[in-house]
Symmetry: C2
Subunit: 361 residues, 2 copies
């Protein structure tokens, strides 16, 4: 019987102190009090974190595995991240590198709904395409006009920019109605993904509005909304494709493959948007590869989650990206298409045709 899960931290520390430091993290992330002062044998045996392994890394840090008690997580998204990194997030010598969970934990969380295969089909022969609706500041009709052009460029998906919320100049209900209509009219094959924001109630109302407009997808920023909100929306909407956006997720000293790949998938994301290497953000190729792997690999009975590399991409990079990720992926090009202005439809068509043609020759 496994009553523990394994958490890997990278710790900046000198060799003489690492054992004590590892032990202090094991205590911080479990009982958070002097172990000497605990009388209860059950707590000592089953609750206090255990240092399972310490090994030196090449960069002078130490990789430390700590086994935490499953029972402490309450099998809930917020409390799970709390156990993984609640207080130690404040220790700037500590990075949360990875975590391995037994099936008993994995089965308690929802995982993706439609997931990668729901989005892409079981026998996917090509990657999916997506662009982002911007800029914030436009009224609903202004955004709808751009959505119409992008849809005419034959995209599979058009998602809201993560800056589109429920602002006075473009309230959610009007914006989504106008954009859904524009996309539907321009290209019945293109699916529109509105960004839902605010608290759990607000997001529920927004998903209802999306449904009322015939939509079956929504985007959420889990680190802003709170991981428990992602889990709740997933359970309540098994049929809606939930796209996770990385806003506010980058500041954390949590390895992106764990947070954006593994944990977002576990709590219910069908697709995970992340900054591709070589764009406006600093992820390395290895980070991107590990993240995509964590999102879509076989993992207990959890459906795979679709990786969506983005952030300063251009149609020129299509072949290289598909070479790198394979075709079980969605490519997202936002500003790179909008920058074409009057030639936006042609530039979008160039993008989507390039993706469609890949591997055909």
């Amino acid at each position: 019987m496994t009553d523990r899960f394994a958490v890997t931290y990278h710790i900046r520390c000198d060799a003489a102190s690492i054992e004590a430091r590892a032990l202090s993290i094991a205590v911080e992330q479990s009982v958070e009090m002097p172990v000497d002062a605990i009388d209860e044998p059950a707590v000592l045996d089953h609750t206090v974190g255990r240092v399972a392994d310490i090994r030196a890394m090449k960069d002078g840090q130490f990789e430390v595995r700590i086994d935490l008690a499953l029972s402490t997580t309450g099998l809930e998204a917020g409390q799970l991240i709390n156990m993984l990194f609640g207080n130690s997030s404040i220790h700037d010598d500590v990075t949360l590198a990875d975590a391995d969970f037994p099936d008993s934990l994995l089965e308690a969380f929802p995982g993706p709904g439609p997931g990668l295969t729901g989005l892409q089909g079981v026998n996917a022969t090509r990657a999916l395409t997506c662009s982002a609706l911007k800029p914030q500041g436009l009224p609903p009709q202004g955004l709808a006009k751009i959505a119409r052009k992008l849809a005419a460029g034959d995209l599979d998906f058009i998602k809201d920019d993560h800056g589109l919320a429920d602002q006075a100049y473009a309230p959610f209900a009007q914006r989504v109605k106008a954009c859904a209509k524009a996309v539907r009219e321009a290209n019945p094959r293109t699916r529109y993904i509105p960004s839902v924001t605010g608290n759990l109630d607000t997001m529920r109302q927004q998903i209802k509005i999306a449904r009322d407009n015939g939509l079956d997808a929504a985007m959420i920023a889990p680190m802003i909304a709170g991981l428990p909100s992602l889990e709740a929306l997933r359970r309540e909407n098994p049929d809606i494709a939930l796209f996770a956006h990385p806003a506010l997720a980058g500041a954390s000293r949590i390895a992106p493959p764990l947070l954006l790949g593994k944990l977002f998938r576990l709590f219910g994301a069908d697709a995970t948007i992340f900054p591709n290497h070589g764009g406006r953000f600093g992820y390395s190729p290895q980070t991107c590869r590990d993240l995509a792997h964590a999102a879509r690999r076989d993992w207990s009975s959890l459906a795979p989650c679709l990786p969506v590399p983005a952030g300063g991409m251009s149609p020129e990079r299509v072949d290289e990206m598909l070479e790198f990720y394979g075709t079980r992926v969605m490519l997202l090009i936002g500003g790179g298409l909008l920058a074409a202005k009057d030639a936006m439809i042609q530039e979008t068509l160039a993008f989507t045709r390039k993706v469609h043609a890949y591997g055909r020759t």
Copy 2:
């Protein structure tokens, strides 16, 4: 008319590139697309972020002030943090240092309910005292036994450890009932603060349970629950004292005085718990001073928020801490009291008497 708010970032950059870098952050945190491709004059004038100031800092970084449009925030907690740091959280050369908001924004958020004066009284002559109920892993009666001893030590408040959630070995309802009873019987003056966790609905139910047990305070970890959840619970419970816990807040490259002081207060925290300098965490004295100042200074019409320094404190440090923070503060000592084991009541009395005696001689 002010239609902008000022955000200060610290950027690691060479002098030759800082202007372009500052401009790119202003675009990233607003329209997030090439500005050349924007036709709409209203968006160019009123939505695109503006670099207002760049100055070199002593440590080789640059302090950059960017003015963002108020209208983009939708006057909602999640969207406000999104505008402040959503995507730029992923740029590891950027730290979110501070933000200044006009009254028109401040008035749209709830701010504290009872706040500092509600907790401490208008003419506070002494600081407040608090301890933390631990360890996780104990059943309700085990925690209640410790709560009883702490209350006998004449504390003003006893808060749940942030690791106490809704676990099978101590479900929230049973735990809170047992601990509230124990505290009430041991010392009718001591107030118990249960930790609420999970999604917005779960936290609402837990606050209802707290009320049913005669309690008028609750603790929440806003970076785990999501900032919009803090705002929602505040609006729905103007009479409940909400204590904000910093779990998961430390990993972000957001200056603690801004996040734990200013923003938690703006969104509704009555008290903000943070790691004191010289304890188990790495905050400097200056960070702690700035954080306490941000929490309790005069700020538009927002009630002041009570600073609660904690994290590896001991009764020996009482005078020094009160010297440092003054008496508009709550001192929180957790493990330091529990470590006394059989002498826990005496150690707690030593703590509370020291706080009561401060400044009397």
